[in-house]
């Protein structure tokens, strides 16, 4: 008899199936073992990325795995296509959390490699034009990236492209969003 699958080490199967259904045509069927395999793959993906991100934290003698570490790890491990969508997702998440616009808007430069949504809607391949030719540098998504997810996501005032082409990043040294920080130390 097969052993019991510990469900709490996987994403709930209903959620997994729902996401799969977005991709599959309506007539497609999914075998049970396929559903379970995808469930297992997701957990493996989380572990894979987290381990790499955690290694970087340890090398830099930091205790907390941040969103930026995760994005760096994804870039390093070949999932760089996910990075920009995730950056925007996080930005919208923060906005939907109700940060006052005055807090979000600062005098810092716009994010160098992430395009404003309006530009994305015009472009066919936003990534290929935004991404630099070579990103083999381990620190590509590090300090030079221009934002810190856990401090906040900075950009110029609305409608103002600002120094969008500038590649020198400004990482603020003060924390705009102490009220937004979850239990960073207690997770």
């Amino acid at each position: 008899m097969a052993g019991v699958r510990e469900q709490d080490q996987y994403m709930p199967i209903a959620n997994v199936i729902r996401i799969m259904r977005r991709i599959l045509p309506s007539h497609a069927k999914i075998s049970d073992d396929a559903k379970e395999t995808i469930q297992e793959c997701v957990s493996e993906y989380i572990s894979f990325i987290t381990s790499e991100a955690n290694e970087r934290c340890q090398k830099e003698q930091r205790k907390t795995v941040t969103a930026e570490d995760l994005l760096w790890a994804m870039g390093k491990l070949g999932f760089d296509d996910y990075v920009n969508p995730l950056a925007f997702y996080l930005q919208r998440y923060r906005e939907s959390e109700g940060e006052p616009a005055s807090v979000r808007r600062t005098s810092s430069r716009a994010l160098p490699h992430a395009l404003p949504l309006s530009m994305l809607q015009q472009q066919q391949h936003p990534f290929s034009s935004a991404m630099p030719a070579s990103n083999n540098d381990n620190n590509f998504y590090g300090v030079g990236y221009g934002f810190d997810f856990d401090q906040g996501f900075y950009r110029d005032g609305v409608g103002d492209g600002g120094d969008a082409s500038s590649s020198a990043a400004f990482v603020p040294s003060f924390d705009h969003f102490p009220h937004l920080k979850r239990d960073n130390n207690n997770m």
């Binding site: 396929a34 989380i46 955690n54 920009n84 997702y89």
Partner: protein, 118 residues
Amino acid sequence: MRQAGAYSNLLCGGISGRTGPHSLPLARIKKIMKNSSEDVKMISGVAPIVFSKACELFIEELTRRSWIMAIDGKRRTLNKEDIASAVIATDIFDFLITLVSNSDATDANNTVIQMETI
């Protein structure tokens, strides 16, 4: 191809989904992150949120690639072999090779053990 899928989700308001803000449970994600290695100490608040979206992208990509294999086999049912084929065909999915081939090996081993104890 991958990028288009990711963006259409974003532009169509992927954040506030029907099932609440995140379609994958954050507490479960955090648990899996902690289990990934002995020395994961602390995890920032937004990290599981990044994963809730990243896992969606991952599932979508793996599903898309697996479905292509099913179509190649002229089938309408996505099965485990299709996933294994997609994993083998995709470089960035190399970390999954053991997992998709292990399951078969494990089942075979269990069967052998059961036969021996009978």
